[in-house]
Symmetry: C2
Subunit: 107 residues, 2 copies
DNA sequence: TGGCTATTTGGCAATATTGCCAAATAGCCA
DNA sequence: TGGCTATTTGGCAATATTGCCAAATAGCCA
């Protein structure tokens, strides 16, 4: 495998890694409805604000969200709306999992 | 957030986590061309066979691939072909990243 | 300026992931 | 059966991720 391909795979893996956490998925889902400030998430996700902030920074670092400071609040929005479709496929993996498990059970 | 939603987010996050590794992404890309045996990957990815085998088991556990033993080889195939489309979006995140970086540079 | 709110950053302990080596397992063939 | 090939599993050290607390930062308003 050449090093360009390696770099590309690594770049993709980093994006998936950034999405691969329940709180961060929640954030992305919420942002599909429109922009939110950090405080909005703090209530909904039961975690320390500093933890939420770090999750947001992971998503920002990965290029998935953008932030904008207005007054003393910071608003986040999705940079990449297609993330939504993306999940249709994840759902179909979940369905496959279900099939797999019921097949195992019925043996 | 109710516990059903939490479970669902966790299930999705687990699938993304399973995909979020360069070698595993490589495997998924290869499998889009058709089934492969473990030995095929061993050559292409420069890692110990036991490492490859563990990556495959992560993908299998997540419901992304299925395996079948034939003779003394084990063949893997994608359970969920849509994983492919999925990556179109990941690419667009990469493009956003590029924009972001060039914007920063031109400041 | 001082005090308040919102958010980020630093540091750290607990936990999870990765990748290797060695050993186990399973099928094939002589 | 014994030896071979292909693959998986166990174990472990190195590394990465997570989530908290405390402290820093930035904007607002009196």
């Amino acid at each position: 495998m050449d090093s360009a391909r390696k770099n590309h795979l690594e770049a993709r893996a980093n994006i998936l890694k950034a999405l691969a956490h329940p709180s961060r998925l929640y954030i992305v889902e919420e942002l599909q409805q429109g922009e939110r400030c950090v405080c909005d998430f703090a209530e909904q996700i039961g975690a320390d604000i500093s933890t939420i902030s770090k999750h947001l920074s992971v998503l920002k670092q990965a290029g998935i969200v953008a932030d904008e400071k207005r007054g003393n609040q910071v608003f986040y929005r999705l940079r990449v709306p297609c993330i939504l479709n993306f999940f249709g496929c994840v759902e179909s993996v979940l369905e496959e999992q279900a099939k797999q498990h019921s097949a195992l059970l019925s043996r």
